[in-house]
Symmetry: D3
């Protein structure tokens, strides 16, 4: 795939056409307040693994509707009493995985909370353990993108964003976490969730989002050639009269809209041959982002983005913000 989107000079200033609904902040304030009212403390249970350098704990915490969300809490063995912690969100269809899948952070001295996505967790080998207790009306191939998309109250991503925000509430209550030094991180859908949490919280030390999804829906839906934006296009190819209704709902979860609310430092990556999350949609979120921000662009990558190179950069960048 070539560099098919806007030239880099235009990417630098591109803005989404999506508009913030008048009640955007109220919608999220109410949604989070309701969920928090139903929350109970997280449970933590250490699991036995063959690992000797990292402790793994099975955590459950209250998300949307008070429903329990599963996560792995991992902590370097022998670390100090309270360590900086990164809350991580999953790519589309993925789950928290198996206990020994520790990722690149714990051996660098960080605790992590690897959070499930409700109902997801069967793709790419990363299994999940958290159901989504909510049924739904007709959805495209059953996919998550269009579940409840006709009403903002019913939309799947209202629940998932709430879970993501409350994951930070929960992590701050975990033993051994330094509640003053919390970062969020994710790739693709996980990057979108990290951005959303950045917009809906003011207590984060750092935000890392890689090739984030869930940004600038009006453009993503008509430009992406792979991946979950196509579910929305697919839904609207059948439900031809619901375009307006769908766009209305999506405006509440569009990170190109929400990003203006964010204040924490951001390290974001974009791939200029990305056919899943078109680079303009990622720039739409980055350009709108309210906090200090740094961008790493990968001109020859598709949605795999920076991979290990971005990890290496993050390991350098994190200490400046988290320690």
């Amino acid at each position: 795939m070539p560099q098919y989107d806007l030239p880099e000079s235009e990417l630098a200033t591109y803005r989404t056409t999506a508009q913030a609904p008048d009640d955007l902040d109220a919608f999220w304030a109410d949604t989070l307040a309701e969920a928090r009212a139903l929350a109970t403390p997280p449970t933590v249970e250490q699991v036995k693994t063959p690992l000797v350098g990292v402790e793994v704990h099975d955590v459950s915490f209250s998300g949307f509707g008070g429903e329990r969300i599963r996560a792995w809490y991992r902590r370097p063995v022998g670390a100090g009493a309270e360590v900086p912690t990164v809350v991580r969100y999953q790519g589309y269809t993925g789950g928290r995985g198996l206990p020994h899948q520790i990722g690149f952070l714990p051996t660098a001295g960080y605790a992590t909370l690897e959070v499930d996505s409700r109902g997801q967790g069967s793709g790419g080998g990363n299994v999940g353990d958290t159901p989504d207790a909510h049924g739904h009306g007709p959805s495209y191939l059953g996919g998550f993108m269009t579940r409840g998309v006709l009403r903002k109250e019913d939309y799947y991503y209202r629940r998932l964003y709430t879970d993501a925000v409350l994951a930070v509430d929960a992590v701050k209550q975990l033993p051994g976490v330094d509640a003053e030094r919390i970062a969020v991180h994710g790739i693709s859908q996980g990057g979108g969730l990290a951005l959303a949490v950045a917009a809906l919280r003011d207590d984060l030390s750092a935000v890392m989002a890689d090739v984030p999804f869930l940004c600038d829906f009006p453009r993503g839906m008509v430009l992406a050639t792979d991946g979950p934006y196509l579910e929305l296009a697919g839904y609207l190819s059948s439900h031809r009269d619901e375009v307006g209704q769908v766009l209305e709902t999506l405006a509440y979860v569009d990170n190109a809209v929400l990003a203006t609310r964010a204040t924490a430092p951001l390290l974001l990556s974009v791939a200029l041959m990305d056919t899943v999350c078109p680079p303009s949609t990622v720039h739409a979120a980055f350009n709108a982002y309210g906090g200090p921000k740094q961008l790493r662009s990968y001109p020859f990558n598709n949605h795999e983005g920076g991979q290990f190179h971005q990890e290496a950069l993050q390991l350098e960048w994190l200490p400046d913000h988290l320690r």
Copy 2:
């Protein structure tokens, strides 16, 4: 795609390796009894359409869990007091469609009940109007094939089969239906549902199933190269330890297993280049079918099957069984 499956001589005697669970009949008897206990009468409301030759009524009836399922009840204008009626089920992802999509039966003098598939109805332009109120654990890309597949009680197709069986309960209560002359029909998933209803009822006059899905899962899952059997394979490619559990659940909804219970006359079609519902899986159901049966094979078709040619055959075959 070539004729990639067994040669026709072997298709003629092929049997599934799936085994009927000991409690198969009890499972379905209990499931249906529970649902019927919660049922209330169907509602019927005529809708205004530009059609002059066919009346269209918006019907809702009680399916699994007493939940309301939507359907279109169509009746030839000026037909007699009670007409033979065909209950029709939808292909995967499809819904009952729009009121004017009358299909090929009403102008031939039959009433039809076009039944929604809960939660489906966003694919191929055939929209649906019936939600599935049940959440679920991790499922492959969110698709219906793997929702609740780890427990037979939770499996999506337990609900959908129940809806399909109760659609016949409902149609017999509709004004203008000749309750003694009921046929079922469907294509692909709809054909699988028609077969399931044939196995779970003893009051049908005729069964028509075209290139049916939901037959011989153990083979479909390892042979299909397109379509929803791949969701099961995809799920198990992540959930590598759940193969046994999944096969156990599937045995309860496998029409190659259930078909031995059927008694009504069957007209079935199979396509020998079908990559979605491999011909051997269709033969597995046909060969096991307990009632009188007739097969039409399309040697050069993929999953589109016989289309209009099969319709023409059905219009010839139906009067012998339904009138």
Copy 3:
């Protein structure tokens, strides 16, 4: 496929670069006069079908060169003496189909004439019954798009357009047709034929064209990524010195050129992700259309276009123009 063509703002004013040949009107006047001089009355023979609500008649009428074209004439049983009638043309490779394939119009009270495309009728299950008695020079994969394309007199579409125009001559002679209330309709190639007939007749009450093909060849040939425009590009990729000659011929059958001559009310649909009939080529015809006109745009559809939703709209729109 994303929205790959011009943005909607530019579509609204886009015009083809094709120019009307000086003798365009004379060419068609002569062509039609010659064909009409050879015409004999249509034959009509009722066929026995299992349908009770619709009568089906096998019609043949004189097309180009006096050659007989087959069609199905369908009429609602019990309709008045003379009913408004829609002449329908087929998509590329399709034929008039089987007698029972009645489509969405007859049960709404309209008669229809479902017209074969000479030589076509083997694609998508819609069989045809009309040969094209004319041989041809080298053509790309044998396809119809390049048969005789080097001379306007020999071009296949000269014959097909003539057949389409004379189908209306014929339908007006059929018993039970209200000759004052004739509409034409088609999808893709059928939509192009409907537009051509609208340009070459002045007695139509209504024109409906969906995602029409055969519009703005100079652009279609270099932009389409699927479908029959590629036959032209394919032909010219071998016959590299014939570009000018081919464009010259095509100008005589280009509906973006012919459309200025049309006067009847038009309901047209376009799909913004259409890779077969690029939206700009459809707009080129719509923007040039001489009569009253209405456009329905489907932003998330490929060449399937509006399908049942467009049918529903047509059923609402038709009575205003045909009754």
Copy 4:
């Protein structure tokens, strides 16, 4: 593509299931006699080219129905009075090409007659100059494979085979040709034509057929995944009731049937990964071939076959049979 067909051990003995019709020989005897009765002598006109080592002549000769077929007659400059000559037939969609496309034979001392395929000649850059004056009924995408396939008298390949046989009649009349030393050669469709001519003549010195098409239709139609056998499968996927009729016609032009009549020495090549002409279909013709025969198998090639390596082998093999 892997070696997907029968293992080599089974290829060695594989036979087609197609049966010779009772009147096969009479059909061809009559067909050829009729055509010869209409034949007039070939015309030969030297064309000016930039070539200095090879003369090129534009030839036309009488084929089926006395219709003129175009060909290039090429002759090494300075060769003796009469030279051995190879009549060459074209691959599907190709034509005789441009005058300077001399191929590999003339500089080796052979004259060649490069024969057009009527109506073809727009594919792969090899243009043709010979029309097919015959119209036809519905054909799949307009392709040649299904033109007139419902009646053996009307079938396109009856005409093409006749042209191919009469090309040898013609070449023997050309000045400078040694009429006692004529070979035929072709690749793919051209290979099928060479085999057909070998079966329908007894005066050839040598036959070379590479990855021949038009052999063992019953198997080719259900096994090929690319190329023109798919036109037959495509046609029958719409014309579902004509399978028997089509197979009946094809038996008259099936080289796996005709080959038993051949007597001239044959050099044939087959490619074991050929998805256009499955190796079993090629073996079906080879195994049935009546004359002396030699096979070269290319285990790792698809339909490109032996290319230059086969040419080199042919240049070694030809002198033993042609000089």
Copy 5:
């Protein structure tokens, strides 16, 4: 992709048709002896990383021809004086990666040596740092599979296997490695290398090979539909006369041949939908393996194989053999 290879019952006993050359053992004994004669001690230099739980050292050691091979030596911080160590080899085109890519073993208490593949290291984001100083004759697309394949002495894999064997020589000399407890591991090409090392050494404690490549070339070359076996098929599709020569060379590096020499305990995985390393080729190596062995089969996976599930199994299996 379905399960396209042999049924599981036949896989269990399948053997390669490749034969051990008479001088196979001498060839490898000489090759290794020559390389060892040129070897100098490994160099080890600790690199500074942001990791706190794992030390990373940049190692170079002598491989084939005394040429230096790069590797990462990683060691859990705070581990005992000498730890069990796993030597890991890379998948095709991959390299040792970046320092922080520690994989799943070090936090479980194992040291690892992540060995470069000479000349490779630009694929999938896993960069490498080791050149291959040897030029070569014509090779298919330049790929490694066909470099020098015409002479066993020149073949690329002679060098790469030698590097892999000498990596174990080297690791035993590294400070902190328990030279009595060495395992080898790899996936795909890495799995093939692990098997080769198992055949060419007698001092290993454990061998883990996942979906191994480089097994049973005669079958892999004609059955695989993706991946590097296709380079061999591609090469032979041009070099049509070199099939015998190529197979002769490949027999020296075929792990289905070499495996009979192996004695160390093996944990192997196979994926039954693997289109890159067909399951029969993997079984050919497993069935021939000379030491104690255990197989994990993944019926629904393509070449990704068991991924994290296989890792979890390996973490359980390793202590029984390595501690």
Copy 6:
């Protein structure tokens, strides 16, 4: 593929963004001087072939580093003492082929030197016989495009360009060649080599380059969707920090940069649907070309370009410049 690149009006003036390095001329002067210092005279050995009109000689000459490059020298039998000669270069992955593959020039009275590309010669059936004795660091899939690309001194194309330039040194020493009338020609990579030779020599009579590769790397790398430019993009998708270094090297071999140095008459062809060598990259070289020049554009062709039509044009154009 549509015409996806710039419109023709913009192509006419498009310029590359690549800049000539300050030491560009010195780099090539030094490189060629070094190679010439090591050169020894070409060897010529006639090979026996079945051809009677063309003599074929096996030539080897000194290329980069004095290494011997293989070529076929072909000469019309019976031509005068010294004939105009065309040096021809190969497409990517191809070699000089077999002796009898004479191409279109020798029978037109030209001698040709068909030059191998070192290390290439296994693709498309055109085999080669020249090794590249140089190893390399990590390269993408082993392909030639990225071998040594981090240092201009090590880059594969430094060697290949030098070979191409010295092929002309060699051809002028061959018996029977008119050293005053030398042309160069190639397609794709061969076209790029012809352009490079045109820039690095001042003694050519004519240059013919068809759909040339190796022009305007900065654009080719981000726009091509097929072919070897993708190797560069692929390499940089892993080696994410080496973009600058790679572009620096490429500037030394970019024909859109070098072309300003050329002085010989040029006949160039471009294809407007070329996905391998985007038309803008070809125009970048043409627009910069320093000598007299003529362009033939093929609007409906992909990378196959003008094929036989371009050959015919070349046969007309050559005599004006070479005789």
